[in-house]
Symmetry: C2
Subunit: 262 residues, 2 copies
DNA sequence: TAGTGGTCTAGACCACAGT
DNA sequence: CTGTGGTCTAGACCACTAA
């Protein structure tokens, strides 16, 4: 095993109160920030680091796990630990639910993905009737049962978002909305055809660390949070006609909003 | 040391492929989800878990560190590991920059905090002129130098948000905006008095894990992401008159937005 | 096959909280 | 003082990757 190039990383300060593994993490973080390790580049192996700093392997692993929890690096079994590249982000514009986007034949996700040269996919499509939760009843105005449409969105094979739409049965049952493929323009186009003119949407945005099943479904690297968006669609009568619960890989999204000043 | 109450946690499956520390984490996570450990309750100590599962201490610590990285638990040195309580969240309404909020004497943060019975504080107020970054120049329409106003917001002593406003010098220099206290209604009220009628705001929302300095400034527990919001204020001439860069503790915020359907 | 990270053990000493 | 978590060592064996 070759030694580390001199000057790539510094040395420890034995007089410091700061724990050794934190000092090592600091050095690696700084080296990444300074560009000494490019995006996607391999960091020194655990063996090289134990050698360089003269510490035990657990100490080095502790340091590396810090970088991973910060989202700066990710380990690949048998290959090494790499500086995590920032994936292309999907920008959700503030006019993403404007009428004109519904008039096209394809769904917003598909149109948008193809516009930036990505290959869009939708899978895990489940459509079924479910009992409503108290929270959903509150948002939809108390319906006992709801139609749930679950799906997962992928860009170039990478999962980026899961979404579940909930609709009151008195609106959706027996309509194309209850079909796996609701047709051109998606369920919002169908809602309008059914006489529910859409007026506006309300979104609630949160961020948190993913649950284990979300890590799996979205294939999230360590240190990547999720953005949790709950969107309610209102028709021109002021009725909530759909609630969409969305979980997005935070490293793949930027949400844009426009706020009135008056 | 007393043994764990029987039935509180299950046993390991030695035939499982799943790593032991993950199985232990799973059991604790499930017990928390089922309410066997309430919010704020103390989890079994490392020694008790070591004993119960018959594994080494590092294995138990590994399991506990998973729960912490998920934001489910937090360790307190010398006391134990506790189920993390969810702090009260601050909800940012979609009309938070409406005219009527500026007409009041106090800042939005103060008014809102007092409305829900919390004690608001603002500290680390720094106001100074800085060189503009390329990104800021792009957003503000290329100004070489900008006025930067940095501050940190606290609720009941807990830091929840840091914010930095950037304004072009030709607008802000020599005005109350360059003073530590810009007066009633904040800098938006002053901008309007200076002839910059506000038209709308654009926000970009991201989520990520905090950098070490953000962990410190916001006193973030492990497993808590930050919400990063960059807001640009536009006047009725279409000019960007302010950019506000905000970092929020994600466990303390829900952002609400209203989107047009037309 | 050699190099990598993943898991696990069985200790040690330290710092902090509460009695 | 006891019990707690924080740090660190020096090993071991395993699973995965790539040559």
């Amino acid at each position: 095993m070759a030694a580390l190039p001199p000057g790539l990383l510094g040395t420890l300060d034995p007089t410091s109160d700061r724990a050794v593994f934190r000092q090592i993490a600091d050095q690696l973080r700084e080296a990444i920030a300074k560009g000494r390790f490019a995006e996607g580049a391999k960091l020194p192996s655990e063996a090289e680091l134990t050698d360089h700093f003269g510490v035990s392997r657990m100490t080095v692993r502790n340091a590396l796990s810090i970088l991973q929890s910060e989202g700066l690096a990710s380990a690949e079994h048998g290959r090494g630990v790499f500086v995590r590249p920032r994936p292309p982000v999907r920008r959700l514009a503030s006019d993403r639910f404007a009428q004109r986007h519904r008039d096209q034949g394809k769904s917003g996700f598909t149109v948008e993905a193809e516009a930036v040269g990505s290959r869009p996919e939708v899978d895990s499509l489940v459509v079924r009737e479910e009992r409503s939760t108290p929270e959903m009843s509150a948002r939809l105005g108390s319906a006992r049962k709801v139609l749930a449409r679950r799906r997962r969105y992928l860009l170039d094979g990478k999962p980026v978002e899961t979404a579940t739409s909930y609709l009151p049965l008195d609106i959706a049952r027996g309509t194309p909305i209850a079909e796996p493929n609701p047709g051109p323009g998606g369920i919002y186009a169908r809602l309008e055809e059914l006489g529910h003119r859409l007026d506006h949407f309300e979104e609630e945005v949160r961020a948190r660390m993913p649950a284990p099943d979300e890590v799996k479904t979205l294939r999230l690297a360590p240190g990547v949070p999720v953005i949790h968006v709950v969107r309610t669609a209102f028709d021109t009568d002021g009725r909530a006609v759909e609630v969409c619960d969305t979980v997005m890989a935070a490293d793949a999204y930027v949400l844009a909003y426009r706020l009135p000043a008056t």
